[in-house]
Symmetry: C2
Subunit: 316 residues, 2 copies
Amino acid sequence: MERRSIVVLAGGFGGAKLAHGMALIADEAAIDLSVIVNTGDDLEVHGLSVSPDLDTVMYTLAGLANTDTGWGVRDETWSASAMLDGYGAPVWFRLGDRDLGTHIGRTKLLRDGRRLTDVTAALTHGLGIAARLLPMTDERVRTHIRTAEGWLDFQEWFVRRHHADPALEVRFEGIESAHPTPEVAEAIARADLIVFAPSNPFVSIGTILAVPGMLTALMAAEARIVAVSPIVGGAALRGPADQMFASLGGESSAAGVARHYLGLHPGLLDAIVIDRQDASSAPEIEALGLRVQVAQTVMTNDAERAELARAIVSEA
Amino acid sequence: MERRSIVVLAGGFGGAKLAHGMALIADEAAIDLSVIVNTGDDLEVHGLSVSPDLDTVMYTLAGLANTDTGWGVRDETWSASAMLDGYGAPVWFRLGDRDLGTHIGRTKLLRDGRRLTDVTAALTHGLGIAARLLPMTDERVRTHIRTAEGWLDFQEWFVRRHHADPALEVRFEGIESAHPTPEVAEAIARADLIVFAPSNPFVSIGTILAVPGMLTALMAAEARIVAVSPIVGGAALRGPADQMFASLGGESSAAGVARHYLGLHPGLLDAIVIDRQDASSAPEIEALGLRVQVAQTVMTNDAERAELARAIVSEA
């Protein structure tokens, strides 16, 4: 049986879980999995290049993720950070020792002149990950959030200030000169199915879609495009997506997610996967011209991750 | 009582112990302590700037040194290194997590454009160290060792190959364009006593003395200059100093140490401190024009470190 090429567009938490579900069923469903990951949240900490979404997906696929916190590595130690704190370095963006091993390794390879795509391939190879993890671009893009306090770096807003300030505007610094990598373009062109993970539509999937050429590549792809709604029962399972619908415009609902993506490009989606809790909104979404699939999208364990992946793949 | 300015020239292990002895008696003896440290052993590991001798002295003065290994930090964890190993990075130069915190912090400050002298001051301040730790120079100097296998980087020879290859020649790459820092020059000029720690005369003290202008500054200083022999009973207590006398020329003895330093500049030393085991060689050394002080130079605990420091200071 020829393997089906599935491409998942992902941010961190929700994207990692769905990507992991796909990886769990990769053999049974004969899936060749590529995950295109948001890099707009990337930052430098202590001079090291940190890619939070890539790492969350990578650690999750490697079985190393800290499922208690939703970020970082399990069985982590904090020795380096304690020293850095003693030296007066800012440690609000918490980096454990195992995690720092990744950032040290990544930074070294980047400084040696390698592309983030190649560096990511080396790291995932080291962790024994079969799926292809692809940064959305090799160029530097940085998400900024305008609040009542002014423009904030994404992680300043998200981590340091716990995304408490309403987001009034989003900008992706550097995006004008960014391009989808050849690997991203090829994965999209060859895909049999493209899935937008249940990640933040504004600052995870939205960032990926904002890379010049990305929407065109997606619209040109032969694959069906299916979005999984990150909004369940009107609320985001995690993170600020629901607040962002309120402050940036739109409706925090499965239908609102559908309208948001269609607003970026008419016909962008073929279908949307919504949670059972939202089954009653299916007619409203179908009226937008989308096929609606109802499934359990809340993934509390590996079995539920695999089950959601199986449902998406089987209906595609 | 006015404090006496004492300057110690130091490498790693022996230098750190004597510097610590001086720090232990700093209050009772009213000592203002500066330690000028070899940086020829510095290297980049995983793209991070590592200064092994500065760190050994720093950790020792901070009470953080791992006394079992003679390098690194006590109560260390190894999480980052295990990850880096998994990524295929070379980990033969072992760096624990607490230690990495130092290197990450140092590298960040250096990349921000600060001098190693200022970076070292920031780190020692963070660790609550009262003594002034001074890199011998802010310029990059790298010690290389010629062996039968060819030229090797210092740590390649010392750590990776356990200094098993006889050293046929030593060179300090970059030394021609290095200078003593203003802080080093001032410490030497203002010193009441200058002590060469029982560190390797070739690749620890020898490196410091090879910085252009260093010998001139020392000869111009009003302070007496006292060397502590790192050779006891004909052997180095640690490291390859005895083998280096054999392969580079000279005699592995207290008298050989005296002759080595006087060979760099006649009249460089005023006195030498030799171990009790070597008391019988005092006349041979006195014939070189040096005053000889016999003491217990082997320091197996803090009390013995303080005792040696006290002996040196009291006779000065």
